[in-house]
Symmetry: C2
Subunit: 208 residues, 2 copies
Amino acid sequence: MSRQGIVDAALVIMREEGLGKVTMRRIATALDTGPGSLYVYVRDTEDLHAQILDTLLAPVPAAVPATGPWRDRLKALLADYGRVLQTHPTIARMALSTQPSGPNSLAVADTILGLLAEGGVSDQVAAWGLDLLLLYPTAIAVEHGGSPPQKAEGMAQLATQIATADPAQYPNVARAGTALLSGNGSSRSTWALDVLLDGILAAQSPPV
Amino acid sequence: MSRQGIVDAALVIMREEGLGKVTMRRIATALDTGPGSLYVYVRDTEDLHAQILDTLLAPVPAAVPATGPWRDRLKALLADYGRVLQTHPTIARMALSTQPSGPNSLAVADTILGLLAEGGVSDQVAAWGLDLLLLYPTAIAVEHGGSPPQKAEGMAQLATQIATADPAQYPNVARAGTALLSGNGSSRSTWALDVLLDGILAAQSPPV
DNA sequence: AATTCGTCACGAACGTGTTCGTGGTACCTT
DNA sequence: AAGGTACCACGAACACGTTCGTGACGAATT
């Protein structure tokens, strides 16, 4: 019974029954103990999820192409990062609210910082840009990672809300119209990454 | 007993006892009924929180200055939006995962779209930039909105993790060093907004 | 060698969100 | 006016996260 043992048991359950079944009680049952016993080694469910994310992130740094422009390699890395999170929306939610921790998360961060440095971005700007770059794929994973029926329902609800918006009260929403709903998660995500990179490159001056 | 009645009761409890006490059971007790009865009018706790956020957002569009450059007015609006969310981190978490809905959220979105249009941003770019602009203040509210002791603890933990990072394994993290931790939420937020706006202005070409 | 102390596993217990079967009431139909 | 139907309030029930008091085991000290 150790922290790693708990995480391992959680990973087994996740692979066999899905993340939804990875509960403290289910893990405790698998380890043949009571739920309270886990809290000696795991602070929180969030703590446990962070640990799971870190193991999921292990193959991500290797996904960056060895050659090519730094910008393309960075976008490939972030796309892969987003792909991992889209597979597990619950973990993506956690990643939004807690700083990444663990060796593999640190490796991802290190790779991003290295690519930004390769692009001539100063350390200070890269340090602040790091959060910004990780944020968007994560948020996209949370929004578009839900179950398809739930996602479609939310989309439809939003569509009717925009369509029935009073043009007198919400003129800009009415004018933008379907542009608000255009594009899928992937196209939006790559567009957003270009926006962020352009902005970061323009912000070469030290922020402080 | 209606949807508005439930939301009103929730708001009263929130003002008197804090958002933490706004539970389905507590609301049901206040309305002298059982917890299951609320689910006729409220789909979820998330749904309820979205409704609460919408009422909190009522005064936000009025916070934008009447005069001045559009960019300053937009930044003032987003800063006020972030201020509201930082007061209620739990609601900020919800705002990250569900599309804003309700009249006041729509009014905020409309105001942002209007200011972007004033800056010469095309409708298509503004539509996609809207999400991006709302995302960062929300994420900052989630990260920096926790209770001060918890926030300090996380910061300290991250600091030691960076300080003890193996320079051979994580060279870029080691080099960036304290730059990763520099700045407070406010300075980071305004910097990020400038980055986003620069990127959006550079992305004038239609994304599709 | 005996005793004390600290650490950790255990499970009961509390409050939580959400679902569901039951029953009553009000309205609409015939 | 009488019957049927559809809606909705209710609370019991389930699974969950988390906390806490209890007890036992092992090691260090006297």
